[in-house]
């Protein structure tokens, strides 16, 4: 698999060179390894990275692990030290990125070691895997290299969570507020109210029915009116009118509109009442009730 690829790339380089295109930067012998601190050599993950060929499976970096990349940078096929040999780590979602420089020797042998402490919290707290690319470039006309190397998955230590990074203040739209100091009082469902109101209203016919069954009647009506019609009419209608005044007070009148008619009607009730009640007393004395 790797051999044809190398052949292909060297062919490409040859073609490029023959076409008079500038030299290109690249690398070889690149390995990425992840080791636990203190563990022996060869214990952890180790994989070779090919040029222009990202690793298919992600590289996982644990809390106490160290990611190490070794490579030899080349200009065309000659090992050479470039000015820029970076590992670019980017969060594909937020597009935040940062780079780490390789320690490269004159002969092109480069090394980088990375732990979680080196990565900024913004990248550590990213939800998806990070993109890790290799950038090898220098001055002059040689074509620079920038290719994805692998996906970097950060495995955070569940025991020691990330230091809480407070979101810095930025001017922008703020969430809407609809603060209700005291919400409106609520009524029960109307059907319940209506049932109980109906029960209350039904009490009147029941009361009247009870009275009638006990023998209540208006048989003395004509007798009362024939002996003293005006006091009886006035007394009863003044009682009705007083209820009317109460009704008006309930619906629209204020106290000052209510008191004068109430006093007037009260006087009528008092005067006519004494007459009407005297008539009632007369009936009692006559033995009629």
């Amino acid at each position: 698999m790797r051999l044809p690829n190398q052949l292909l790339s060297s062919l490409l380089v040859l073609c490029a060179a023959s076409l008079g295109v500038a030299a290109t930067w690249g690398f070889e012998d690149a390995t990425v390894s992840v080791n636990k601190r203190g563990a022996g050599v060869g214990g952890g993950f180790k994989e070779k990275i090919g040029q222009n060929k990202a690793l298919s499976k992600p590289v996982t970096l644990g809390a106490s692990e160290t990611l190490k990349i070794l490579l030899t940078t080349k200009e065309d096929n000659k090992a050479k030290r470039p000015h820029q040999a970076f590992l670019l780590v980017q969060d594909p979602q937020s597009k935040l990125d940062t780079s780490f420089a390789f320690q490269v020797k004159e002969n092109g042998k480069g090394k980088i070691e990375l732990t979680q402490k080196d990565l900024p919290t913004q990248l550590l707290s990213s939800t998806g895997p990070l993109d890790a690319s290799l950038i090898i470039a220098s001055f002059g006309s040689s074509k620079p290299y920038n290719g994805k190397a692998f996906d970097l998955t950060i495995e955070l230590d569940s025991g020691s969570p990330l230091p809480a990074s407070e979101k810095p203040l930025r001017y922008g739209k703020l969430p809407e507020i609809h603060h209700i100091f005291k919400s409106d009082p609520k009524s029960p469902p109307k059907i319940i109210t209506l049932v109980f109101a109906a029960a209350v209203i039904a009490a009147l016919p029941i009361l009247l029915g009870a009275w009638i069954s006990l023998g209540a009647n208006l048989n003395h009506f004509s007798k009362a009116f024939s002996s003293s019609p005006i006091p009886h009419a006035l007394f009863f209608s003044s009682i009705l009118a007083m209820e009317g005044v109460f009704f008006m007070y309930y619906t629209s009148w204020n106290l000052f509109q209510t008191l004068p008619p109430a006093l007037g009607i009260g006087l009528v009730t008092f005067l006519s009442g004494s007459r009407a009640l005297r008539e009632v007393q007369g009936r009692r004395i006559a033995g009629l009730r």
Binding site: P175, E176, L194, I201, I239
Partner: protein, 475 residues
């Protein structure tokens, strides 16, 4: 810097563009004659002094070595704006100390500061920037290179002339005043890193992710510990102070030189293009010198929603005398209108707010009880009227309508209108029959009344039901 007698900078042409008639009606631009201090050592630049500027600027060229140079006269600003070009000397002299420059900003003066990797930044400037949380590389010769985006025509070896697309939005909800399709050539730029804690800072132009800053003296062979890398490098940064005064740091003074205005550049993949430096410089100077992103508030009105009725507009409300009352009642429905314009180069235009952003109204007493998005309801040729209708909270007190609009690149708006909110009067509560839960009690009252009337009638006129003889009371 610069050879004597060479008109390298094109500000005079830029700031005096012949196609505008600068009718500065904004408060900020009342002084129509705006002065720019070209802080340059080169005496020959005084020959550049232009005629009365069409864009409204009068330029004054001064050298820091001039003893008579003073930013303040009788305690007031002597200039509206300052454009600082990199000095040849090490320092900036006693007239341009960080303290005086900050005082200039505090008195609503705007500063465009240009840096250059060719001439070291004076320590007084670095410390001024540090106060604003803008960080420059510690070694003064550092410059930004990008091996993937450089001008192949002029910097094929050194890669220090960056080619960048014109600025993109810093956030999806922030208007982009520096956009365009053009390519900006950015030669020998000084990287800036912005602190993360200040909301007043905003990058205008950032480097690409492959760029980095290095010191050509110490790190000529290989860079192993770069000061700044990738998009964290801000090449043009802005700081808008709380008083809306603007301070822009421009990473490459050379990009403003005549030779980069409308010059030809070649990208790495061989595409030729013209630089958009002239347009970009116009955008930068216009923004810094308060020609862009300046908000003006017109009429601010509030009234009871119910009284507008079918009347068209608010004129009827004004005529009826119901506009801007000093007192409302709790739970009133109230309409609030505000007219906002934005100043664009030479005229006021209606403010357009991005769909993901909003002008917001707060109804506050100590803290906001309501924060609502204001909706644009109509437009005049030079303003937008925003409106919101809402129910006042069920709490009486002294409230205020507040529009506190702070956004990157826009001047701050903070409008407050105080109103009293009273509680219900005794006769404003809902009547008992409107409350369905009271129906049972109301029915009880009137049934009792009816029962009482019936009782009175029966008591007065009823014949005893029992036998007269049997029931006769025994005396």
């Amino acid at each position: 810097m610069g050879r004597i007698g060479e008109p390298r900078y094109a500000f005079d042409r830029l700031l005096t563009a012949p196609d505008s008639s600068a009718t500065a009606e904004m408060g900020h631009l009342k002084k129509q004659v705006v002065t720019v201090v070209l802080h340059m050592q080169d005496a020959r630049y005084k020959a550049l002094r232009p005629d009365e500027a069409n864009r409204g600027y009068k330029l004054t060229f001064e050298s820091p070595k001039n003893d008579k140079l003073a930013l303040f006269q009788h305690g007031e600003r002597a200039f509206d704006h300052i454009l600082l070009l990199p000095p040849k000397s090490k320092g900036l002299g006693p007239a341009l100390t960080p303290k005086l420059l900050l005082q200039f900003i505090n008195q609503n003066g705007n500063i465009l500061l240009t840096l250059s990797a060719d001439s070291p930044t004076p320590t007084s400037i670095s410390s001024l920037l540090l106060e604003l949380d803008i960080h420059l590389p510690p070694d003064r010769d550092s410059l930004v290179v990008d091996h993937f985006n450089y001008d192949a025509a002029s910097a094929s070896e050194k890669h220090d002339v960056l080619l960048l697309p014109q600025g993109s939005r810093i956030r999806s909800d922030v208007k982009n005043y520096f956009g365009g399709d053009g390519t900006i050539a950015f030669p020998r730029a000084v990287a800036q890193e912005l602190g993360n804690s200040s909301p007043l800072l905003a990058p205008i132009l950032r480097a690409k992710s492959t760029a980095y800053s290095y010191n050509p003296k110490d790190e000529a062979e290989v860079v192993e510990d770069p000061f700044a890398v990738g998009e964290q490098i801000s090449l043009v940064s802005s700081m808008q102070a709380r008083n809306s005064a603007r301070f822009t740091v421009f990473g490459s003074a050379e990009a403003l030189e005549n030779k980069w205005f409308d010059s030809k550049v070649k990208s790495v993949d061989g595409k030729d293009s013209k630089t958009a430096n002239r347009e970009f410089a116009k955008q930068i100077t216009a923004w810094t010198f308060m020609e862009l992103g300046v908000l003006k508030v017109g009429r601010v009105e509030h009234h009871l929603s119910s009284i507008t009725g079918d009347a068209a507009g608010n004129d009827s409300v004004a005529q009826l005398g119901y506009l801007n009352p000093t007192i409302y009642r709790v739970k009133n429905d109230v309409t609030f209108n505000i007219e906002v314009s934005e100043y664009t180069y030479d005229h006021l235009s209606p403010l357009k707010v991005d769909a993901s952003d909003a002008l917001q109204l707060e109804f506050t007493m100590l803290s906001p009880y309501h924060r609502l998005d204001l909706i644009p309801i109509s437009q005049t040729p030079n303003s937008t009227i925003f409106s919101s209708t809402f129910k006042l909270p069920d709490q009486h007190g002294i409230f205020s309508f507040r529009v506190n609009h702070k956004r990157p690149f826009l001047t701050n708006v903070d409008i407050k209108r105080e109103v009293t909110v009273r509680h219900f009067a005794h006769d404003e509560w809902p009547r008992s029959w409107e409350i369905s839960a009271g129906w049972v009690w109301i029915a009880g009252v009137w049934i009792t009344v009816a029962g009482w009337v019936a009782f009175v009638g029966i008591w007065l006129w009823s014949e005893p039901a029992y036998e007269q003889s049997k029931g006769k009371k025994m005396q």
